[in-house]
Amino acid sequence: MAKRKSKKGEDIAISVKNVTKEFTVYEDKSYFLKEKIGHLGRNKKRKHVVLKDVSCDIKKGQSVALIGVNGSGKSTLLKLLNKIIFPEKGEIEINGKVSSMIELGAGFNTDFTGRENIYFNASMYGLGKKDVDPIIDKIIEFSELGDFIETPVRTYSSGMYMRLAFSIAVNVQAEILLIDEILAVGDAHFQAKCLNKMKELKEEGKTMVFVSHNITQVKSFCDRALWIRDGEIVMDGETDKVLDEYIKVQG
């Protein structure tokens, strides 16, 4: 439960204890009973261990980068922190309200207008109409959508879609932000604006966990980096040190 306090005190935002996550890989994914029965006894699935006994604590206000090559388990860890998926072993404790930017704009109903979708999207973060009304102008202004906010989201370009989603995610007053490769939103101007906003949130003391392949962004932004390789944390420490080592090994 999000409200539970950590044993060491309140300053831990995220606590991951001995977490192991496996995915079952089906060679031929079956949804139907006939196939499921047909597959019984045949070795059509295997276990793929994505995270092996991972532990880490993230303090409130820290900005942590998860780095590693594709398939190392960074995004899986992020999804675990967001409680979209659950670990096979181990425990995860989260202290504070989470805003995830794992898949921006997930849950937009494209037949509804931008404005209607702001209310809906915010409701997924637990915000009601009363909570959204005071910040909706800020969200619309940030998104730079102007009059398009009154048109259905299906008419939006992908850039407009992402801008709206980002504007909502950063304005819902979450304490913990989980971010997956999203600072590629919109054009250069909007990207810069996003980065500024993220820095602002960081200064406000928000906890952030990043997945990024952009070394410069990670360096400018994060106090700490976790290097994940083949589902294990191989290095944990100051961003510069971890990045230097990472670049040395991965090239």
Partner: protein, 260 residues
């Protein structure tokens, strides 16, 4: 997560629940001219067709058969739509389940609430039909919400199980079509309970929908008190199904994002 915490969490996500309900009701007829009016127009046409067919072509032994049929068929249709929408409510929302956290119970809850609201509106046509046909409405109708409650609780328990199972085995949603059809003929909708042979009555009454549909018949068609004891038993059974449904749903939902 304990049950109490779950309730608290769903409460925190009540805005999402309301929005889903609103979207379902508004979105269903989005882009149509009559919009929500279709909720009333569909049963109205159904009533017209029955009146013509059953008073001119087929004659039934049951007095006022079109009205009888209508009184029973409206709740059955509501039940059928609710189960149908409920079974697919998790699997159809794969895109948000994979990407956003929220208590998954919100999805079946939203289906049940929005369908119940629409059902209440469509009851208006039932009342109009009763008035126009001269049967009229008596004060017994005040017990209608009780029968509806029993029906909704029963449906919710089933939906918790069906929606979770359908994520893992898609056959569930297709299996429901023949099951619902058989179920309809196993309930007193097209015929009356008295037509069921005596020796089958005990077995026949094991179907909770018999008690529920009979409740509607009593209140609206026969204009008598319903069998409160039978309804109470069905309510208890339904609550039991809800508890089992919750446990099943809770167990299966951990892997929703991976399976859906």
């Amino acid at each position: 997560m304990s049950f109490i915490n779950k309730i608290k969490e769903i409460y925190r996500y009540r805005h999402m629940l309301f929005t889903l309900v609103k979207q379902d009701i508004n979105g269903r007829y989005k882009g149509s001219i009559f919009g929500f009016l279709w909720t009333l127009l569909n049963p109205l046409f159904m009533l017209l067709v029955y009146s013509v067919v059953f008073s001119i072509v087929f004659k039934s032994n049951i007095e006022n058969y079109p009205i009888y049929l209508f009184v029973c068929l409206m709740p059955w249709n509501a039940f059928n739509t609710m189960i149908g929408g409920g079974t697919t409510c998790v699997s159809n929302n794969a895109s948000i389940i994979k990407k956003v956290y929220f208590p998954r119970e919100v999805l079946p809850l939203a289906v049940v609430i929005s369908n119940t609201i629409q059902y209440f509106f469509s009851l208006v046509i039932t009342f109009i039909a009763l008035l126009v046909s001269g049967i009229g409405i008596t004060w017994y109708a005040v017990f209608l919400p009780l029968v509806i409650l029993v029906q909704v609780v029963f449906a919710f328990g089933l939906i918790l199980m069906l929606s979770a199972a359908n994520v893992y085995i898609r056959d569930v949603q297709y299996m429901m079509n023949p099951i619902m059809m058989i179920w309809m003929y196993a309930s007193p909708i097209l015929y009356s309970i008295s037509m069921v042979p005596e020796k089958w009555q005990a077995l026949y009454r094991l179907n909770p929908m018999v008690t529920i549909i009979q409740g509607y018949q009593n209140l609206l068609y026969d204009r008598t008190l319903p069998d409160f004891k039978a309804l109470g038993i069905v309510l208890l059974i339904s609550l039991g199904i809800c508890v089992i449904g919750y446990l099943v749903f809770n167990k299966l939902q951990r892997r929703f994002a991976e399976e859906v």
